[in-house]
Structures are given as C-alpha cells and as structure tokens.
Symmetry: C2
Amino acid sequence: MKFSKQRELIYNYIMNSCEHLTADAIYADLKAEHPELSLGTVYRNLTQLSEIGKIKKLSLPHQVDRFDKNLEPHSHLICEVCGCVNDVHVPHTEQFLDDASKYTDALITSYQITFYGVCSKCRKDN
Amino acid sequence: MKFSKQRELIYNYIMNSCEHLTADAIYADLKAEHPELSLGTVYRNLTQLSEIGKIKKLSLPHQVDRFDKNLEPHSHLICEVCGCVNDVHVPHTEQFLDDASKYTDALITSYQITFYGVCSKCRKDN
DNA sequence: AACAATAATGATAATCATTACTATTATCTT
DNA sequence: AAGATAATAGTAATGATTATCATTATTGTT
C-alpha cells in the first residue's frame, strides 16, 4: 500500500471526529476544502483503512455504513428520535458467547448487539 | 386493507417455509406458478404483512432483508460458510435490557443480537 | 535525477435492493 | 350492478456502494 494524501486526509478526519461518520458525510465535508476529491476515493480508502484495522467499518441493520475510530469491541445504540449512532460500552465477554452457544448447534465466533432507543441528548430535549 | 390473492399466496408461502426468505427468493419461486406476479407486489405485501404483524421483517447488517414467520423475539446467526440465517433462541430478557442500560445514558427500548459463525450443517460437512 | 513499476486517483458507469409511479384490474360496499 | 377504493403489473427511479479505466502520484532502483 502506497502513501496517498487523500487517505491521510480521510484518516485524520475520522480521528478528529467524535461521530460515527458515513462515507457521504466525510466526502461532503472534505470536498469543501479539496474540490478534486472523489466519492469513490473516499469509499476505497475507508474500506482499505478498515481492512488494515486502522478504523472499523460499522454495518448496522437498515443503516448506511459508518466508520468508527474506536477499535475496542463495543455495541451501538441507534436513536429512534434523531437517528444518531452512539457507543454503548457493554462489556463484550467470552461468557456471553459461551452462554449463547448453549442455545444453538452452530459454532458462534462473534456477535453484534444493536440497541434501539433514545439517545441522552434527545432525552434531555424533551 | 382489501383481500388479494397475491398477498394470500405470499403469506402462505412464508408460513410453509422453514427458511428466512428474501423477497427475491419468494418472487422467483412463486413466479414459476404465477407468471403474472410482480416483484413490486411481493415487496409491497411483505412490507404490509410485517406492518400488521403477521410476519417479521428481518434486517441484518450487510444482508438483504429477510422475512420470518417466527414472531417470537429471538436472535439470528449468519453462517460465514454458506451464508444462511438460522434462529438462535437466546432468551430475550428484561434483565439484559436493564444490565445494558447501566452502560449508557440513553434510554434503551429494544435490541437485536446478530451472531456470526458456522451453522450446524456446515460444521458437519467438514 | 531520471525511470520503470505499480498503486491510487477522479470521473463516470454499473450494480443491486428497494421504493415510487401509473394506468389498469380486483375487491368491497350499498 | 355501480361506484369507490385498494391492489396489481410493469416499469422507472432511487440511493448506497462497487467496478472500470485512462491518467496521475508514489516508490524503489539505476
């Protein structure tokens, strides 16, 4: 993999953001400063960065893909009011995997928990 | 909502199947016997049937929507070998919601757990 | 520093699941 | 049977993402 200033740009942008950004949001924001930037380049680099483990691709049900700088295993909550995605640091334990394995003949290697509800910001605004 | 023989057809097809069917699979199969059937009709009816609670729409990350006759709350396992989706009847408890709520300021109202691994069929074929 | 090898880019087209549109047809109500 | 309305088939549109490809940038080598 060769260095590219676009990749650097995209990576830094994610690292300096606190949100779970979509490819399109990253593109729109960077495009302002770098009009030559292409959406395909954003997608390509996000995929590459997640493949080498520098960021994490976040695929939630019925959601556009998001990208996370937080590499720790954790869960997410989708706010049903504003649509935002928040981290929920429920401890991801071996125990949970073992427990779940009791209920199936399949071999479980990983899991993803998606929570739905109302984010703390929307709770306050009420 | 008016009766329609197409909706009846689609509903019965799901009820007589054991799999987690996609709209396209349902369409392809029914099309053979009912060449006039339209894919749009299949989608429309699947959505309607899930809206009135007769079936459940299953949205898993990076998966085409599937439709489930099983209305009980339960989880799913995606087989990373054959791609199939299996039920995993991990008990969905209030306790789990309460536990998870400790780790966030958000109000959690529901959750979805997706397991990844190897289905029992693929385990045997090894 | 020039050069060749190759990876990355921007622009655009293609894909795929799903939804929207619309004229026609089926169902329901009286 | 007639009018009202919901559903249909067929097709077009949408939106996120990936693929294509000619051009440009980066790198390792003389």
